[in-house]
């Protein structure tokens, strides 16, 4: 959770010499891009295994009898016994795991202890809301961070506007320090109550999405802007940027064509964690704005000890994170022709 703001090594320090990749199979040498993707996919598969095992195990890790805890002290022994059989908890552990896996493959995640509806049905209802919220926030964060980071880095490199630069840097630091749910509460007080211009609860229309998406996006945006700033400064100091300056290119080409592609890969490599954090951040934001998504579902089910539902939501969140990580890796391999980052 305490992510060191250290940046990934700048492009200049990366060993880009591909001869280092070492001896490959005689005759058929896999391209570094392919082997990078293979390695990362393998890691994603292992992660998937860990996630499935963890969601299965979580019920068994609860101290005491989870069924008794879920049904409360007033439940009759018969009801407890029946529910235990429903959940399959009376079978041997290995049998339970096998059942769990085959259920997953069929898309059967069990029945909610509270609503007595299939977990998968509830997930299908709620997932689009959470995905939309996270997607919107991602767009805001990315589209805000790149121009801010690039502009501050370019002005810092020339040594101009030092006071403006320090003001922006303090502002970004402050925005990073405020957790998203507090920002959300502040937004409600300011835009919903004092100014009364935007709705502060519910979900559906575009107006209802403004405050949640902004509250979720601003922290990650500030953090990403800092990463972009640092990476852009590193790129601006590289010899190839001196070469580009020696061609006296206009600023537009200098920054967009020569600096940006190199900066984006480096920033993406170190900013990936911020983007996945955005997915989890929906839990708190949904609670503040009373949005019926996965986040409010998991909070309600943890409180109610609705274990099948908890397993389902945790699984979906974890899969979303894994998918996002894989997407970032794909983007990295597509963006960087050197594939220098792919050696690690």
């Amino acid at each position: 959770m305490a992510i060191p703001p250290g940046a990934a090594p700048g492009p200049a320090s990366l060993p880009a010499d591909l001869t280092r990749v070492g001896p490959a199979l005689p005759g058929r040498r896999p391209s570094p891009r392919a082997s990078f993707l293979l390695r990362r996919s393998g890691r994603a598969l292992v992660s998937l295994g860990v996630v499935v095992a963890a969601t299965f195990l979580v019920v068994h890790l609860v101290p005491g009898d989870p069924v008794r805890a879920a049904l409360g002290p007033s439940a009759t022994p018969e009801l407890v016994q029946r529910t235990r059989a429903e959940l399959g908890l009376d079978k041997p552990a290995l049998q339970q795991f096998a059942d769990y896996l085959s259920g997953l493959l069929r898309g059967d995640l069990g029945i909610s202890l509270r609503s007595h509806r299939p977990v998968s049905a509830t997930l299908a209802e709620r997932f689009p809301t959470t995905l939309t919220l996270a997607g919107l926030a991602f767009l805001v964060a990315a589209l805000g961070a790149v121009p801010i980071g690039v502009a501050t880095a370019v002005s810092a490199w020339g040594g101009r506007r030092r006071s403006l630069h320090s003001v922006v840097s303090w502002l970004l630091g402050g925005l990073i320090a405020i957790p998203n749910f507090l920002l959300a509460v502040g937004f409600i007080a300011l835009f919903g109550i004092t100014m009364n211009v935007l709705p502060v609860a519910g979900w559906g229309g575009a107006a209802e999405a403004v405050l949640p998406a902004a509250a979720l996006a601003i922290g990650p945006m500030a953090y990403l802007a800092r990463i972009v700033h640092v990476e852009m400064l590193a790129v601006l100091g590289t010899p190839y940027m001196t070469t580009a300056r020696s061609k006296r290119l206009p600023a537009r080409l200098l920054y967009l064509r020569h600096a940006l592609p190199n900066m984006i890969t480096a920033a993406l490599a170190s900013g990936g964690l911020i983007l996945t954090g955005l997915v989890a951040g929906t839990v708190l934001i949904e609670a503040v704005f009373v949005i019926p998504g996965l986040g409010s579902t998991i909070v309600a089910s943890i409180t109610a000890k609705d274990y099948p539902m908890i397993q389902g939501v945790v699984l979906v969140y974890a899969l979303l994170v894994l998918a996002l990580n894989l997407l970032i890796d794909l983007a990295l391999s597509g963006l960087d022709p050197r594939s220098s980052i792919m050696e690690g």
Partner: protein, 575 residues
């Protein structure tokens, strides 16, 4: 580091932090005693009031004073956060240190698992753990602590592995010190200081996480309350009185800031990576304005200084004057740090922002290089002044094809259409001796060999109409055979274009074979200027020393090569 810490402690930020920390600690110890009764006192008549003199933050739905409740909640909030931090630090350190002494296959599994856990956001991990331990204060403390264990474990593992690889630890192993002994005596003392420095940052994160969990209703349960719980109750009543929600929020943010600030005080890198001041290129007042001079380069009394480590300026070029005639090849030799590259970059106008450039005259053809070029001048500079750098790998943009990097000069400054620029690029690549120019043009720099990259670099300069090619140690990064080929290409380019060349090298033999005229630089000054054929007549002892360093057929190989040092080589050269 010690003195740096004291310095930071006495800075304005340090003083504010220490005072704020004292206030926080006082609140932790005394607030429940002083304001406890007020926080519990229900007054139905006063309920749901806005801020007033008697209740600065207003009252809640039972008429309790919100400010008093926020102050009282300090103790529980801070102690729970510290509890989580302790769990994270102890658990993470143990896991990280134990991982270093595990057998290799187990160790790889453990570190892989840590890395997988790290790829999940902390909130997801926290929620997962709070499923196990349930929605209670102690459960949330465990959940927040455990969710941070992977982060601490990774840091510990990295630090500890660097220690266990050191020679004195290996020596201890050889004399029979066991795993436990190595950990206690060698690993822990070395890794604890950097870990403890990070504690404040972890505590800050734990405080915010805890507030989040309590806010979700998964942490502290009524009737107890911490800041997160107060925030939860406040948001439900935010329409009645916004301060009920904002009060605890302010307390959380302020405490988080205090903890973060402690982190940056104890941390070793309080980096204020502020940029260098803006480049100041200025011409001496009263410098004679000479128009239409025939020389390609004319510099008089060129001085360049850079900000030094102590904040002052260090002069790296001290009054250099030189002239380069059209088509002439001029070499600058000198040891590293003699200012030869800085001189060349000043002529090209490519020094970084922090450099201070001053000169009586500094012009390229009729363009005054002491002031920023106009857009017309920029176009001419782009076409007529080419620069080749030492390391062609880092000097070519890794994410653009060779073709893209060649064509853009023609497209931008000459207005040549893309298609024609491409054709020209192929011709130029062929002229600098690149085989299969069609294929090579579409490749990226990393797909070319070192010699080919340098040829492409030269080709980039030849896309325009170079009047001057500045070659800054163009062959240093290449092996000897490739060096010769690149020099031949450079020579050929000069013959074809009639361009002047400013050739920079530390290799006097190379320069004398290639140039018409040689300038010898030392400590930012030109100490001697001679015709390349006249090296044997060099008068300056430094030049003679440089010449003496070049081994030749009659060099006595049983003796070590001379070293330029305290002037004794010069003596030897004279002898």
């Amino acid at each position: 580091m010690r003195s740096g810490f004291r310095q930071r402690l006495l800075s304005p930020q340090g003083i504010v932090t220490v005072v704020a920390l004292c206030v926080l600690l006082l609140a932790v110890v005394f607030a429940p005693i002083v304001w406890g009764p007020a926080a519990a006192l229900t007054a139905v008549a006063d309920r749901g009031q806005g801020p007033s003199g008697a209740h600065p933050f207003g009252t809640d739905d039972l008429g309790r004073d919100v400010l008093a409740r926020v102050l009282v909640a300090t103790r529980l909030s801070v102690l729970l956060a510290l509890g989580s931090t302790t769990i994270a630090i102890v658990g993470g350190t143990t896991l990280g240190v134990v991982a270093t002494v595990l057998p290799r296959p187990v160790r790889r599994m453990v570190t892989a698992l840590i890395d997988i856990l790290l790829s999940f956001p902390w909130l997801l991990l926290t929620l997962f753990f709070s499923v196990i331990w349930g929605a209670s204060a102690s459960g949330a403390m465990l959940a927040v602590g455990f969710a941070d264990v992977p982060t601490v474990a990774r840091l510990t593992y990295t630090l500890a592995s660097s220690v266990t690889g050191r020679d004195y630890v290996r020596a201890a192993r050889i004399v029979g010190v066991g795993h436990a002994g190595v950990i206690v005596r060698h690993v822990l003392p070395n890794i604890l200081p950097p870990l403890l420095v990070n504690t404040a940052a972890h505590a800050s994160a734990a405080l915010l996480s805890f507030a989040g969990l309590s806010f979700l209703g998964l942490g502290v349960q009524a009737p107890e309350f911490d800041w997160g719980r107060l925030l939860r109750e406040g948001v439900a009543r935010i329409y009645v009185n916004p301060m009920v929600a904002l009060g605890p929020g302010i307390a959380i943010v302020l405490t988080g800031l205090i903890l973060n600030s402690i982190g940056s005080l104890t941390g070793e890198t309080a980096s204020s990576a502020l940029p260098p001041p803006r480049a100041r290129a200025r011409r001496r007042p009263g410098a004679p304005e000479r128009a239409g001079s025939a020389a390609v380069v004319e510099a008089a009394d060129l001085r360049v200084s850079f900000p030094g480590p102590d904040g002052g300026l260090v002069e790296r070029v001290r009054g250099v004057s030189l002239t380069i005639a059209p088509g002439e090849t001029v070499g600058i030799v000198g040891a590293s740090g003699s200012g030869k590259s800085v001189t060349a970059m000043a002529i090209a106008g490519l020094l970084p922002g922090e450099a201070h450039v001053g000169a009586e005259t500094l012009r390229f053809q009729d363009i005054d290089m002491t002031s920023p070029p106009t857009s017309a001048e920029r176009g001419r500079l782009g076409l007529e002044l080419a620069v080749i750098f030492q390391d062609p790998l880092t000097s070519l943009n890794p994410s653009l094809t060779i073709e893209r990097q060649l064509t853009e000069v023609s497209e931008v400054h000459d207005g040549v259409p893309r298609k024609e620029a491409r054709r020209r690029a192929r011709d130029v690549l062929e002229s600098v001796g690149i085989t299969e120019p069609e294929r090579r043009a579409r490749q990226y720099p990393h797909e070319l060999s070192g010699g080919m990259r340098q040829r492409a670099m030269l080709g980039m300069g030849l896309m325009g109409r170079p009047r001057l090619i500045i070659a800054d140690e163009p062959t240093t990064a290449l092996d000897v055979t490739v060096q010769r080929q690149v020099l031949r290409v450079l020579h050929e380019a000069r013959r074809r274009t009639g361009s002047a060349i400013l050739f920079i090298s530390h290799d006097i033999a190379l320069v004398s074979g290639f140039c018409d005229r040689v300038l010898v630089m030392k400590d930012g000054e030109i100490v001697e200027e001679l015709a390349a054929s006249g090296l044997a007549q060099a008068a300056h002892p430094y030049t003679r020393a440089l010449v003496a360093c070049v081994p030749h057929m009659t060099t006595d190989r049983s003796r070590p090569l001379p070293v330029i040092g305290d002037g004794d080589v010069a003596e030897e050269a004279r002898a």
